[in-house]
Amino acid sequence: MSSEVIGIWIGAILTLGIFSFLYKDNPFYKFSEALFVGISAGYWFVVTFWQYFVPKFWDNLSLAYSELLTKGRVDYHWIYLVGGFFGVLMLLRLVPKIGWLSRWSLAFIVGTTAGLQFTRYLESNGILQVKGTIMPLDLTYPKPFIAHTGFIITDILGTIWCNLLNILYTYSHWVLVVGTFCGLIYFFFSKEHKGVFGGAARVGVWFLMITFGALFGYTVMSRMSLLIGRMDYLFGIWLGLY
């Protein structure tokens, strides 16, 4: 029996173990979950170590050391010691008396991140969003449309539908600007949602719900395809029914 066949059987059994969770928590699921956690934690550490730590820290410092030994010059790669320094400070958390030193590493990570995100998000979520929303609004009257399908009912339905869509498309810019405005009003914290302000906030909520509904609908199909993929694995690859 080849390792692939054994592997498929193991995968199928663990798949069924996870699916059993849909019924209720049970030893089969608990076993799959425990194994999953252990293997994933070990895998993540090994991959991170060999793909990030060794090239970025060990290899760079080795290069700097060999430059010092062979050419007697101090190479800029020694700067990676700073990362090692912060890493060791982090590990000092394990020593209660000097564990407070790990705050230096946290301060470095959080401070760098904050400075980085400040400007980038101001650009992407502030300036560029405002620029994208500024658009001309006009009061063009949409051209009426009459459907001719040969049947009176579809003519009427088609005419109503097409003219409705025509209005929606003609006034798209208005909808975009008003929707953005009302959405911003919803997120306003300094004033209670009452009166006209509350009405605008309510319109903002409707726009938000349209977005959430669109995202919901968008992802449903991809979720279904994941389930189909698993069924294919169980019935096609494991049981070989097709």
Partner: protein
């Protein structure tokens, strides 16, 4: 003695040499004829007039390893002989020799940015503060003409990226708002913020867990400490931990990132400290499971059902696992409060949890829970930022509607 055939026999040698010369002569003649023919064929394909006025200057808003070359188009580009197909840009550090093609652009284009590498070892290295000279060739089919050499130019780094001026101005304005309102808060000014259902529900949810004698589960999300959504969640965790310490309810905080775990431990410990119960803090209440998404989720799902948590709070950066967590919490019968800035996951939280903080509300929540004046001051600054945005939108839309495009250009960012 046997004579050596070639060098020993004069007649044969002379005959051989005559044949050799005749052979070479014929070939040279043919080559000349071909060359001349080639030249004459080329002289039929006429060279375009060369580009003129080649100027090289430092590329603006960069780190000092790029030059911009501009020129006046060849008169035969789109007019005259109309035979230009492309322009080649050549560079050298010597005005007389060593010119190498650095770029090619199509006809009609009169500018090229020569971006070099900053590392010395790179073959495209362009050092700063060193003079370079350029020539531009106008190329037609198989033939070209070159401009005169440009004046020398060197690249240097700029002290400020003027293309990012709108962002700089925005940063200054927003920082001013934050400092202003925080100072107002320090002076004791009352700052009103409207109630948010999800945040008001936190107290009620913690009370429920205390009454039922079951723990609270707090999920910081799957982001790293480099995500501001995670930092916002950790600040909320601090406030929740303080309330939890006051109520003496157990709290469970499983983490998916080791750095987030260390920060979460500090946040929870600080919360217990602020509640005056530092001894009640249990280090094992905040622990690391695994960094891999679905392994983490499977463990948390199991935890929800086995520990039968009364309240689940999901705050931070979430991805596809959001629905798995929320639905399992529903099965466990927990009251659930969620908050994320990930727009794609908000619909699932809205559908599956009892209260959801949408986007910016996540960032405001820590101030709401702690009611600290300095943090409420920051919320005011956010609101003023929104007012400024709304004013910009109104002005911008009016300007665009009346075809005054200058307003849109104020928000243009050139990288």
């Amino acid at each position: 003695m046997k004579e050596k055939l070639v060098f020993g026999n004069k007649v044969l040698l002379i005959f051989f040499l005559l044949l050799l010369f005749l052979f070479l002569g014929i070939n040279i003649t043919f080559a000349q004829e071909a060359g001349e023919a080639k030249a004459s064929v080329d002289s039929l394909a006429q060279a375009p007039a060369p580009p003129t006025n080649v100027v090289a200057r430092d590329a603006p808003n960069d780190n000092g390893h790029a030059l911009v070359v501009t020129w006046t188009l060849s008169p035969d580009d789109g007019a005259g002989k109309n035979n230009v197909v492309s322009y080649e840009i050549l560079r050298s550090d010597n005005p007389d020799t060593g010119f190498v093609v650095k770029g090619v652009v199509a006809l009609g284009i009169s500018q090229y940015e020569d971006k070099g590498a900053k590392e010395k070892g790179d073959k495209n290295y362009l050092p700063s503060h060193k003079d370079f000279y350029y020539r531009v060739r106008a190329r037609a089919d198989g033939i070209f003409s070159e401009s005169v050499v440009s004046a020398p130019a060197y690249a240097y780094g700029q002290w400020f990226h003027f293309g990012k001026s709108p962002i700089f101005i925005g940063s200054v304005i927003f920082t001013f708002f934050v400092v202003l309102f925080i100072n107002m808060a320090k002076k004791g000014k009352e700052l009103y913020v409207r109630p948010i259902a999800g945040i008001d529900a936190v107290d009620e949810a913690i009370g429920r867990a205390t009454e039922m004698g079951r723990p609270i589960l707090y999920i910081v999300g799957l982001g790293s400490a480099a995500d501001l959504g995670t930092i916002a969640s950790l600040t909320i965790l601090n406030r929740v931990a303080k309330k939890v310490a006051e109520y003496q309810t157990p709290i469970l905080v499983p983490c998916a990132d080791p750095i987030v775990m260390t920060v979460a431990q500090e946040s929870v410990k600080a919360g217990y400290y602020d509640a005056g119960r530092p001894d009640a803090y249990k280090e094992d209440s905040v622990w690391y499971i695994t960094s891999m998404q679905f392994a983490y989720v499977s463990a948390v799902n199991g935890l929800m059902l086995r520990e039968r948590t009364a309240t689940n709070i999901y705050m931070g950066v979430f991805y596809a696992e959001s629905l798995l967590l929320a639905e399992t919490g529903n099965v466990a019968g927990s009251i659930q409060i969620s908050g994320t800035d990930q727009v794609a996951q908000i619909p699932f939280f809205v559908a599956a949890t009892d209260y959801t903080l949408i986007g910016e509300e996540l960032y405001a929540a820590s101030a709401y829970l702690g009611k600290e004046p300095l943090l409420l001051g920051a919320i005011k600054a956010q609101d003023w930022g929104k007012i400024l945005i709304m004013i910009s939108l109104v002005l911008g839309v009016l300007a665009a509607s009346f075809h005054f495009d200058f307003f849109v250009k104020l928000f243009q960012v050139k990288m």
